[in-house]
């Protein structure tokens, strides 16, 4: 069933300013981690080629969960089911259960446009639109509702502040986003995703096209955003996973091999394959 607004999510109709209010964060923070995304027996295929095999996984709300594993292990495919971007790929299908706060994400009648408002995505390569910096950030909000010019300006400023880009671009909001450096472009893409007011941020190797310094700034940003958003990050970089994530899931050939708290999984993996991968013996 489509759910235009969920009662427990206060970013629906009443929201005008920044997506997430302070009060709401405070009200929820102390409780033990809530499950945001859960999957049971989730399998997925491209045509007749099975890429995910009966995955069981719970992802906690307002934490950073890292998906690691060698190329082709299905971690990006899994990520793209959470906002149903796989719908754009002919022949992609999934079976099993995948839900976001109880919302069935595999429901064929699901309103994917509304889902993508709730689940933002940052891609591997920065993909700012060939528009001004302001219009890039305002793009998402403008899709979904009508803003007064002052509200929109405020929303853009807050989103850029939240993505730690405001100081660098506040004097040139009207110049093209394509003039920014790679790292700045990626932070702009994060601001663009935040501006819509999502609950979840999906990041598909967000730093793989960036230099070490830009990577460090994005990682710092991810740690800050954790307070407000549930973040799922796909990464090839083991150090990055250990630096930014609370929980880690290790995938191999479409199967979930091991999952757990990041510090435990990296220091004391229970599975031999996980140990080999995180210590760099293969992958």
């Amino acid at each position: 069933m489509t759910q235009p607004t969920t009662p427990e999510q206060p970013l629906g109709a009443s929201r005008v300013e920044l997506p997430r209010g302070e009060s709401e964060t405070a009200a929820r923070a102390p409780s033990s981690p809530q499950t945001a995304i859960s999957m049971r027996g989730l399998s997925s295929w491209y045509g007749s080629n099975q890429v995910l095999h009966a995955l069981d996984l719970e992802i906690a709300a307002k934490q950073v969960c890292a998906f690691i594993g060698p190329s082709g292990c299905g971690k990006s495919t899994l990520l793209r089911w959470i906002n149903r971007m796989n719908d754009t790929i002919p022949g992609a299908r999934a079976a099993g259960m995948l839900s976001l706060h109880g919302l069935d994400l595999l429901d064929p009648t699901l309103d994917v446009v509304d889902l993508r408002r709730r689940v933002g995505m940052v891609f591997q390569k920065p993909n700012p639109f060939p528009k001004s910096i302001f219009d890039n950030v305002a793009f998402g909000p403008r899709l979904h509702r009508i803003y007064s010019p002052t509200d929109l300006e405020e929303l853009v400023e807050q989103s850029l502040r939240a993505s730690a880009l405001w100081g660098e671009v506040k004097d040139r909001l009207d110049s093209s986003a394509l003039g920014l450096s790679g790292g700045q472009q990626q932070r702009l893409c994060i601001a663009r995703a935040i501006a819509v007011g999502p609950e979840v941020l999906l990041m598909d190797e967000p730093c793989s096209a960036l230099d070490p310094r830009s990577t460090a700034s994005i990682e710092e940003l991810i740690r800050e955003l954790r307070a407000t958003y549930t973040i799922v990050i796909v990464t090839h970089n083991m150090q990055q996973a250990s630096r930014v994530s609370d929980a880690t899931a290790f995938f191999y050939e479409g199967k979930l091999i091991e999952t757990g708290a990041t510090d435990l999984l990296f220091t004391n993996p229970t599975n031999r394959q996980t140990e080999d991968y995180v210590t760099g013996r293969f992958g």
Partner: protein
């Protein structure tokens, strides 16, 4: 095992030889074009005057002008552009952004590609049957009309050899070119931009309207320029639908008789008298100026659209 080494000197020689060949080809092309322009200028410039632009056709070369074909060309090409450009872009958007991979899509694609290679005179024959005669429906009877022939909104069906029929005909000729050019432009827009817009919660129409089309527009305009340059120079299909060679009025409504510059040039160039050949050359100069003006407008539009894309 390994082959013998090719001496560097020989490779450099080959490189230089190729460069020389390219230069020669360019030079020959420019010389030919230059010779054509110069010979037309020598023959035609003398006949070019305000009177030439502002007079109708005449049996006396000294009194003949191109008022009717010049305005006819403007009318027909404007109608053609208004029909073919939006239709071409629309079809391309459907094929590239909305149509699922299917047999029907492949069939349409194949036909569009083939149609772009069909000689324009064939379109003239089609247009004669479809637009001018309306497949013979109501032939012999009075045409169905709306308004009277003096009013600017006068319409009739079948269209007859009118300005509107001419515009439709040229639109047929350039539609496949327009579609293919627009498709290429849309295909050149990086997939990552579409994905980015979709991931923010855009509908497919919002992706097209806000991201894909604006990014493709400069290239689409380039395609439109080329397509319209083709339309403005077409004579054959308009000759087939019954475009007139001698017209003594400018179009007043969509049902007016018309002639166009290429038809007038064809007419004059075919006459035995030397004076008319000079008029033909003068008309060619006018045609070239119109073409250049047309392209300049399109380039200005393209630059305007392109500006926000550059940093």
């Amino acid at each position: 095992m390994s082959g013998s080494v090719i001496p560097t000197a020989r490779r450099l020689l080959a490189s230089r030889l190729f460069l020389t060949l390219c230069l020669a080809a360019t030079t020959i092309a420019i010389l030919l074009l230059g010779a054509l322009l110069v010979s037309i200028a020598i023959e035609g410039l003398g006949s070019l005057s305000w009177r030439f632009l502002d007079s109708f056709a005449s049996r006396k070369a000294a009194q003949a002008g191109i008022k009717a074909p010049l305005l006819g060309s403007v009318w027909v090409c404007a109608i053609c552009a208004l029909i073919a450009v939006p239709m071409g872009i629309g079809t391309a958007i459907y094929l590239e952004e909305f149509a699922k991979r299917s047999r029907i899509k492949r069939l349409i694609q194949l036909n569009v590609s083939n149609l772009s290679g069909v000689p324009s005179i064939v379109y003239g024959i089609l247009a004669l049957a479809a637009f001018v005669r309306f497949f013979g429906m109501g032939s012999g009877d009075e045409p169905w009309t709306l308004g009277n022939p003096e009013s600017f909104w006068y319409l009739q069906c079948p269209l007859g050899p009118s300005v509107l029929a001419g515009g439709f005909t040229l639109a047929l000729v350039i539609l496949p070119i327009m579609i293919i050019a627009s498709q290429e432009a849309l295909r050149a827009v990086p997939q990552s931009l579409r994905q980015g817009a979709l991931a923010l919660g855009s509908t497919r129409w919002q992706v097209v309207r806000l991201v894909t089309l604006p990014a493709a527009m400069p290239t689409i305009m380039t395609g439109a320029i080329l397509a319209m340059s083709r339309a403005i120079g077409e004579a054959a299909p308009l000759l087939v639908i019954g475009g007139f060679l001698l017209v003594f009025q400018t179009p007043t409504n969509l049902m007016s008789d018309f002639t166009v510059l290429p038809l007038q040039i064809f007419n004059w160039a075919g006459r035995p008298q030397e004076d008319f050949h000079k008029l033909a050359a003068a008309a060619i100069i006018v045609q070239l100026v119109v073409l250049v003006a047309f392209n300049s407008i399109a380039i200005v539009i393209r630059q305007k659209l392109q500006r926000p894309l550059q940093s």
